[in-house]
């Protein structure tokens, strides 16, 4: 179980371009950090580096458990981390329920959890619709349902609220607050402030 995320002296490059260097960050259980910065500053790349999808040029990303002991990085990433990118990976030709169920089972959740998440995010009427027929906001809610249905501590969110309406933003704010209260960690790239108390970090400043 991830209790702390530590990033020290991180240097990220995309191609030949250096995005930022010397970035340090520590997130404890129950904390949310909002990453800000102009387009192309490297917010998404930072999230992908934490998820282990891109390799840092320099620096270290590590996770520790409740006793402060370091966790094996691969294990922590594959069992206790959700990465929600702006691409949701939902297949247009399958129904909302089929896709949600697959994502939940794949990330280690249960069928009953997926059903509960469906109710929580008000997806009941969309269940049997093909993903291609959903609006951007509905697709995002479907992607968010995975976060609640399979319990993982660290949430990496890339613009999580962008396509949601005002009411749903408040509702997702409550979900994030619950996650933090239960010992979760959130690292989110945002342009608009999140509806929960966060610490800010500007990338590429």
């Amino acid at each position: 179980m991830i209790r702390t995320l530590m990033i020290s002296d991180l240097h990220l490059c995309r191609g030949d371009r250096s995005l930022f260097r010397g970035l340090g960050l520590r997130i404890e259980a129950g904390e949310a950090v909002a990453l800000t910065g102009r387009n192309g500053a490297g917010k998404t790349s930072l999230l992908r580096a934490v998820a282990g999808l891109i390799r840092p040029t320099e620096g270290e990303i590590s996770f520790t458990d409740a006793d402060g002991a370091p966790l094996p990085t691969e294990d922590a990433r594959s069992r206790d981390l959700h990465f929600l990118s702006h691409q949701d990976g939902l297949k247009p030709g399958r129904t909302a329920w089929e896709e949600l169920l697959f994502q939940v089972l794949w990330t280690g959740g249960q069928r009953t959890d997926a059903e509960a998440a469906c109710v929580r995010l008000d997806l009941g009427r969309l269940r049997d619709l093909e993903v291609r027929k959903l609006s951007a906001g509905q697709r995002r809610r479907l992607a968010l349902a995975r976060l609640i249905a399979s319990p993982r501590r660290l949430w990496l969110l890339d613009e999580p609220l962008a396509p949601l309406d005002a009411e749903r933003r408040v509702a997702f704010g409550e979900i994030m607050a619950e996650h933090l209260a239960g010992g979760g960690l959130i690292l989110a790239a945002v342009h608009d402030p999140l509806p929960i108390p966060t610490r800010g970090l500007e990338v590429g400043a």
Partner: protein
């Protein structure tokens, strides 16, 4: 395990479902079998001679058709990120994907191979060995082809690249498989060819997933 079973189910559904490759490959196979007599001439003797070989050609080309979708779609829509972050390693993901590809594309083609070969005039007693050879060869095609599909991720005109990478790798199973069928028909030793075909496919199954996972990680980073 639940996750991998869910993944296999999803892959099978995607492949069979709308826009999937399985029916397309079958249609391609049938079209080729229909056009062959028109192109090569309708004399039964000539058709019977080329029938077993053409079945292999169709099998190789039809598997090639559906390979482009194997990783490319998941890569483009972000699902590969999710697959990389599951409890199962990417090697297992690649294995499940190729297995699903074999079940939905190669296996139906293998079952049709003797029908098409017989329709083209091959002796019916070649049917059993044709099925076995096509099933084994199809396994090799799926797992070797998967390497090409993973290596071409993120490149423009990936389909062309897959063909260029994979076609030389497809040559040995075609030689062994078609050779074994021909030897069987002529009453010669066919077991060596089948053994080599089996060895080729099994080593593709054993080595392929590691190469595919490495290529996927490289494409994601």
């Amino acid at each position: 395990m639940t996750g991998l079973r869910a993944l296999l189910g999803r892959e099978l559904a995607l492949s069979w479902g709308r826009g999937g490759g399985a029916l397309l490959a079958l249609a391609f196979y049938l079209a080729m079998a229909t056009l062959l007599p028109l192109a090569a001439g309708p004399e039964p003797a000539r058709l019977a001679a080329v029938a077993p070989g053409s079945a292999w050609l169709a099998l190789a080309l039809a598997s090639l058709l559906s390979l482009e979708r194997l990783f490319e779609r998941d890569y483009e829509d972000g699902a590969l990120d999710l697959l990389a972050l599951g409890p199962a390693p990417l090697e297992a993901v690649a294995f499940a994907k190729c297995l699903a590809q074999w079940i939905t594309t190669s296996a139906p083609l293998a079952l049709m191979a003797p029908v098409v070969a017989t329709a083209l005039g091959a002796p019916p007693d070649l049917a059993p060995i044709t099925v076995v050879a096509a099933l084994a060869g199809g396994l090799g095609f799926s797992f070797c082809g998967g390497i090409g599909a993973a290596l071409s991720l993120g490149s423009r005109r990936g389909g062309v690249l897959i063909a260029v990478i994979v076609l030389p790798l497809f040559a040995p199973p075609v030689i062994f498989g078609a050779g074994a069928i021909e030897a069987f028909g002529a009453g010669l030793d066919w077991k060596t060819g089948m053994a080599l075909l089996g060895a080729y496919s099994l080593s593709a199954v054993a080595v392929g997933p590691f190469a595919m996972a490495a290529a996927c990680r490289n494409a994601l980073s």
